[in-house]
Symmetry: C2
Subunit: 119 residues, 2 copies
């Protein structure tokens, strides 16, 4: 039954990449979206890196990017799409499974102070 | 103080890669190690992929690989090193933070019901 229980197929590679995981986690609570500059600060990314990763997320349909003006200054705002939100929730569900697996294996004293050893 | 709270610096790239995450999670509960063939099955990897990722983990000092014979058949066994174990625990601690961040952002309805079981 449980073929390859540690293959973690559900760990969507588009989201799993470290910088993009930060971007998705930043955006998930922001129904009104986040400005490029705020996202950059929250994720500790350079302009170039953030642009590149946003493009990957946009092409995958997970993020929507709106460009407008605030007075004369260009303003770029980023939002999760409905699909992005759902896929992020699915992804987080798999992360939880990784943590449970680690804890059950007795490998997560961090998660479980006195972990029982499994035979 | 919390500069770039979503940069997740602690998400060690050597461990974070999906296949290697499966390998590390498989090994963490196996004090006696796992045979190459078992690891392959548990992680759903091909010979070539498993070899390649094990080499990365070995070069990073996280995994030890012992080659011996069982009768005439070569036997390859893989173990976490003490450092590998510690770095995996640290890594899992950061994953837990990602899940907490997602839940706090209200982005983890999926995560909430079964939220972080801390002992």
């Amino acid at each position: 039954m449980a073929e390859a229980p540690f293959s973690y197929q559900g760990l969507d590679r588009v989201i799993h990449e470290k910088a993009r995981l930060g971007i998705m986690t930043s955006l998930v609570g922001q129904r009104k979206g986040l400005a490029f500059a705020d996202l950059k600060r929250l994720c500790g990314l350079t302009d170039g890196n953030l642009s590149r990763h946003l493009q990957v997320l946009e092409e995958a349909g997970l993020v929507r990017i709106d460009k407008s003006f605030e007075g004369r200054r260009p303003l770029t705002k980023c939002h999760l799409t409905a699909e992005g939100r759902q896929r992020f929730l699915d992804y987080v569900g798999v992360l939880e499974k990784v943590i449970r697996d680690a804890a059950e294996a007795g490998g997560s004293e961090a998660a479980r102070p006195s972990a029982p050893k499994r035979a």
